[in-house]
Amino acid sequence: MTDLLTGTAASVHPRSAPARIWNVLRLHLVDRRTYIGIPWLIVGIAFVITVFIAQIIGFTAGGLGTPDAIEGQRYSWAVLSPQWYLIVVGVQAISFGFPLALGFGVTRRDFYLGTALLFVLISAANALAFAVLTQLEQVTEGWFIDTYMFNALWLGIDGFWVDLFSFFVMQLLVFFIGASIATIYMRWRMPGMLVFWSSLALAIVGTVTIITFTSSWPPVAVWFGAQGIAGIFAWLLVPAALAGFGGFLALRRATPKN
Amino acid sequence: MIEAGKPIFVQIAEQIENDIIDGVIEEETPVPSTNEFAVFHRINPATAGKGVNRLVEDGILYKRRGIGMFVATGARQRLLGARTEKFRGNFVGPLLNEAAKLGITPEQVAKMIGESERRSSTS
């Protein structure tokens, strides 16, 4: 009798786990603007502004393209301009995506795996794009106008592969931080938020205090220096993975808000 | 069309009966399907089916395999007979009871009926 039951219900639509997870990814991407359109629009606007500012600096500081001017442009955060938006996207992937997916009969597991897969794929695509643009910027000597936006912060220093890896990790971290904050809210609502933010603040203050009181800042700086760019971003995989797996465990028992 | 407080399937059965008595649906012609009744009267199909089935049990309708429900031969005559019995029970009985309460004899009642018949036909 159980066989009959399983038979009829399963014939309803037997979808394999990979197909279900892929469908969750498609659910997020049905509106392409969120993950692709708007971030690249922000990059485009940031680039225009960067060109503008570079021209002003070049005019006042007596010429772009000097080593000083190129070094000066390293301190611009323009290359990271879409990241603030993408943290919010990470939040909304859970806060809007989760109730919608559950209404569509998706399991929490499939939803989370599909969402995580989306984060990984978008992070990989963005990393590839930014690493290539960084290289192009070098080859074209600042897009032929001595304007450097992508060779900024840590990018464009240790070569293509390090750029690719570091950007990937950074992007993944951004998505998972946003997603895990939303997940904590989804699971524990306001009390969860209070506990999370206060313990985070405590942890930061505590760490800074300990380092300061033990006069450990020089060794900490030495340690960071020894890691190199690739090493530091490899360490950042740890919080990304923590946020990723922690989010999974928390969401498995979460209930959508009414 | 559908009134509250009375089983809907009874009302459906009665409506089909009325249509047969009035000659709207003739004998040996098909009646609408259960789903058509359901959609038309805005009622649950199972309820409509119950009303139709009641008429099948009474032999008023019969099923032609693969085509649908048809009105049986002699259905109208049988319905008229049943309705006459019901009329006697529902109207004539209470009428005479009330009359007895007021001290009106059955003969007087018959006379009153005759008079009102004349009055309504002249007016």
Binding site: V12, V30, Q92, G105, V106 | G5, P7, V39
Partner: protein
Amino acid sequence: MTDTAVRVTGLTKKFGAFTAIDDVSFTVERNKIYGLLGRNGAGKTTLMQLLTGQQFATSGTLEVFGASPVENARVLQSLCFIKESQKYPDSFRPEHVFANAPWFFAHWDAAFAARLVDDFRLPLNRPIKKLSRGQLSAVGVIIGLASRAPLTFFDEPYLGLDAVARQIFYDRLLEDYAEHPRTIILSTHLIDEVSNLLEHVLVIDEGRILMDQDAEQLRGTASTVVGKKTDVDAFVAGRDIISRDGIGGLASVTVAGLGETERTAARAAGLELSPVSLQQLIVQRTTSTTSESMTTTDAWSARS
């Protein structure tokens, strides 16, 4: 067994000290339209969330198509849950929601959905945020109907829909259900509007199932008996009394389960019988016992 879509035994859901669902047991048969009726806050939404695996039960067992729905992909694929407060991503337009649907509902009928979009005059490319309350409800109603899920839940799906749009919903639901029978659980407090659509009625009050009955049995069998108090009392003695009211020497008592012969007997005893609609019946059943005893005392004080 195979006719059972849902089987619930001793189901309880507590939120802290508050018991939302209190030791509930019932079954839902396949391919019927169920009405889940009750007052606001009675536990309708919580019950549906439990049945769709969105909430976790505190105790008791719950089977949907033979297994627990919680994190069960096979079961959940056969469900569609349309709730009043459904959230959509901020950037979404109705077209995005409908584009998604076929990936999650195997029986999705795009042509039917398109027809419903016309029926409800829903603007497909207006951001969801900017839709009116009624248009937002229409999105849910269209998903729920066109998904043709073997078990579909509508939780107060009509918020903001005007009378015309609600009638369209009921008509399309009925037409499509007649063509494609499936199990539908409709939660509403507009009982009069839907009562004729229902085949079975579950009434929930304060987390308990108060009635679990065939809709046709409920309809018609309950009657209000009005007459001289002594006559009425004699007639209703030993019967299932739903409510009692009175003024002076007159009594008005609603009783369940009157057959044809009993009706004739009541009329013969000089009592007046009036029909009770499903809504009246449920209102009478779900008004708390204190108000019932109040009407009884009213009757008493009126008599003395």
